[in-house]
Subunit: 356 residues, 4 copies
């Protein structure tokens, strides 16, 4: 039995732990297993760049961040476009799969990557997807690996900012990863005790944000913490056409939305405002125990499915149980915060403002 | 509106965060709220030891471990037994409740404490329970606060032991909290990459444990990590009558089961064995972001229920949603690992031994 | 005995631990001590904003970040300039000191703040300085509190970036606090395994930086980590007059030097470059054990000096012993990295480039 | 140039970082270097068990705990005793050294291991020692690697115990590693805010310890934290002859001194006392940034000395500078806490009791 494996898209904390789960299950259940690791995601599959993995390659990697296979971004929309040498990428991937006599290809990837996994499924390959993303935006699974580790790092940043904000009596904006969805900002914001949380799914009114800061000042609270998702958007911006919004982004005088919000809040409240942008560190470092357990479970379940010949699924979690979600259902959908989300409602009860 | 609050039983990491969630919700929703904090759990309720809490008492405590109210163990089975001065404790609690004109009593407690909460419910008081325990053994809720923080600390201990075990080529036993249930050991064991996991619900055969160690040695792995719950039990011990088991415990020549297992493994395998007992530190320190989010959500939901006049429930989580579990259903039941537990099966697929 | 205390300038991690050390020593040695805490640094001293501290105010604050007294920046060069109401600030501080019948004023502050402490000494007040700064740039002491905690946070950022850089095969620039001195960048850079370290004291040649990146690429190392101090400066910039340099900073098209370096490295090497700016979080959060020990020692030594009537000193560490450095010697001097610094030489031996 | 390397004795956190420092320096300075890694300390040198290390073996290990070479304890006093097959170990080590044509042997080890290093020096080998120990008890160097990382873990344990002790109003004893010296307990005790610190160098009077607990209780402090070194000793025990003390240890009814102290304190004060024994985890896990910097510096300095042909030294730190301490001076001496130690005096000023 020969199983191909690759990690695709932006990296996150628990990729190695997940691959270890798959590998340990396969090696433990069958003697005749060979795992082929493709280098740097789909690039390795397209260009036959791979190495044959041994059992010991998966030892001692449970706690290691990053991915031992490397990764790269191979946009789905370019998959059908030939490369600079005229190579048909989809055919190339199919050829590699056949040439190496793979019984299955396991893809650890996020939303975009799983679209390609589904494409390969449609092309007749045996594929299994595993939900990698700090954004937790994969449709069909309650949770993705990397998410909790990223929450921990983003929350730690807010914790650190908290003491300096309180000491100086400042308004602090912490920009948290998430261009299209706000799960990471929502969780880290609540965990870090943010006073205001701005996410892409809930466009904000800058005056309401300023009012929330002023309300705290009036109550004698000298500082405020605002957790802002990278993709936070004002009501005015949300009302723009796609073209107009792109133009706005292109001509914006601030490096990111946080700085724009910061400038306006400073103007509207008269308070000193600072911005912190932890950035890529949110997807790095060692996976937290929660993610290690999740990854191990998902990996073991994927291993079992390979042994049972069940293909075409994303392996996720539904209601604390392993769930097999047809890749056809997953591809192209995003799991976003709904306006009536329970957690948002609870946060509002406590007085946290979403600026809406 | 007057709301009583107390923390009961062994402390854990997210008690303050939970109380903050309740308090912030109440203060934010109504102007006329007064919160009475009872000192050291039911002791404070019995003996009228309390202080009136202000809004600012709940500020800045989100990340603080322990409990600002203090706690004590007041065994359920002694509740109906008068104290040394002949005081009827149940009547005393009811009197305090009435005297202070409470509209509701909120109890943060584990299995034993919630039995008393249910007793007070039966006596006609308005009560709400919140699921505090690092053991995650409360019936009716998928998860309890304190659990994930304890997993993190227990896992960190295994991580640290891992490097020293590997360097010295030793067998290491890490004893993890949990007298009756093994959830904490199961999660930390998997997160820490333990090779063998022994929990109370799955009695072990010492020869199978030794065989698992020997198998690793034969594969060239110079060390093994065994995660053992405090309440781990051998098949022979599990077959004893209650009386016989108590006698065994009383006359055991080892400080705990881990040392007994260690001595036997050393004898059966000829390998050097060491035991680590992190102990109470597992329930201490700052709550992790997961627990802070959980506690904030449970607290806000409890606050809402108080405002809505919904009493008699434990507030927990079911399938990622807030759940109201009738206290009558919760009291006296333990949520234990079932032999066919999904996670146990996944771990076995990967070659982790449970000694059974 | 009445002792005034204030925290001045940018906050850091171990301010509370230091004040606790002073206070515990005073309360433990004399019954008649009263401590006056000035609110928000010299502002509180100028405007008589203070509170009388009790022994218990200093309990439980050893591990808390920030400062319980608040802080503010009161630039030394404005001290002799009257405020908007014509108030003479220096006279106001002296008046407060006298009015409150202080026996001594303890100032926790960095380079700028200690200049003011020295000014008050010259004006006849009994003062003691304590070396607060994450920059470790105070002249006369080997180490300052906050420094090691900031190293830990900056290093953690590099650690997290390391895994994502390695997975993606990217060049990553991590911008570390330090406008004038590079100690924090030097230590965190070495601790984080940075390949290139750029500090203000050693102007860089961008071509040598690019060459170091290319050398690694040639050796098959797909990624490089560059630790850059906020105040890193190129040889060309270092050759500018003060006026020209200010103009360059004012008209620079990048938010900070890191982005400028990033753009040039990308151009010169053809590699993908990303920038991470952890920012203010480096001065926040709980102090590390090293800083807690240092702060406790410095605080206790300061307490002893107050009891002994020894004033006019900065309390620091010299060769692992407490040192009393005359404030007159400290004021206005910076402790900078010397070109022949032992640590720089050791780093170079190992192949770390400083771009010089 | 051929350089042998081994790690000896109990492992600690920064062994890999130190070896990396040596190796990177050698590889960077000379093309013709070959490093021989002996497996499991002196055992590998005696029995010719080694592997030839490549440059990439030292990549990515800066943050890894344990030792990539493995370690074992080879007591100095048995070095002159032939093994079970009659092999003369010292001759065997010399033979291996000559056979492999080594130019130098680098030994990472603590007090006992460096005695053997000195023996090999006396036998004419070129040796360099590096100070490995969490105990910080190596004579001649201010600090050893592993020490600060162990402080961090021991302090974290005290931090966690602190919240649970405070919540329950209990006396907690935390047993910290250190049989002969108390540096680790002293530093972690102060960093963790312990109220009482008991170290081997300062025999305690149990009545004074109990008095310190009672004093706190009288001041309304419901809990006390006692940091106890493994080798803490009472005045009575200190007065015993070596033989009598050994007999006492052999017949002691408690697993360790902490339990004995706990039982007596409970008896003398009437308070509930608990004991926590973090154990071996104190020497495990990833090295902290402080140790990584220290290890890198010491390693680079050792590399330089090899290149310069300077042998027979332990490479340590004196007054923040690299120091070359003749191994002849180091062997057999322990650096212990002196009764008039500055830090002990400072702690006493603040009211911390040493039970003396």
């Amino acid at each position: 039995m020969r199983v191909g494996m690759l990690t695709s898209g932006g990296d996150c904390q628990s990729l190695n732990a997940t691959m270890r789960g798959v590998a340990k299950t396969l090696y433990n259940q069958r003697k005749d297993v060979e795992i082929i690791g493709f280098i740097e995601g789909y690039r390795g599959l397209i260009y036959e760049d791979y190495r044959i993995m041994k059992s010991k390659d998966f030892s001692g990697i449970l706690t290691n961040g990053g991915t031992i296979l490397g990764t790269s971004r191979q946009p789905f929309k370019l998959m059908r476009v030939p490369d600079e040498n005229g190579l048909d990428k989809v055919e190339a991937m199919k050829n590699t799969y056949k040439k190496l006599k793979l019984d299955c290809l396991v893809v650890l990837g996020g939303n975009g990557s799983q679209k390609t996994t589904n494409l390969l499924r449609q092309e007749g390959l045996n594929v299994i997807g595993l939900p990698k993303t700090i954004d937790n935006d994969l449709w069909g699974t309650d949770v993705t690996f990397g998410f909790q580790s990223a929450i921990n790092l983003a929350t730690q940043t807010i914790d650190c900012i908290h003491t300096t904000a309180a000491s100086h009596g400042r308004v602090f904006i912490v920009e948290i990863m998430g261009h299209k969805v706000g799960w990471l900002t929502l969780h880290a914001g609540i965990a870090g005790g943010a006073d205001i949380i701005l996410v892409p799914e809930i466009p904000y009114d800058i005056n309401k944000v300023a009012a929330a800061v002023n309300k705290r000042a009036k109550e004698g609270k000298r500082f405020s913490i605002i957790a802002v998702a990278e993709g936070a958007i004002s009501k005015e911006q949300a009302a723009l056409s796609k073209k107009e919004y792109k133009k706005y982004i292109a001509t914006r005088q601030y490096p990111s939305i946080s700085y724009e919000i910061g400038a306006k809040i400073s103007e509207l409240t008269g308070q000193e405002v600072r911005v912190a942008v932890p950035g890529h560190m949110q997807r790095g470092g060692s996976p937290c125990p929660y993610d290690r357990v999740l990854s191990t479970r998902l990996g073991a379940a994927a291993g079992k499915m390979i042994l049972d010949g069940e293909f075409g699924y994303l392996v996720g979690m539904k209601n604390n149980h392993i769930a097999k979600i047809p890749l056809a259902d997953v591809a192209g959908k995003l799991k976003m915060i709904q306006p009536d989300d329970e957690m948002v409602q609870e946060a509002k009860l406590m007085g946290i403002s979403f600026g809406d």
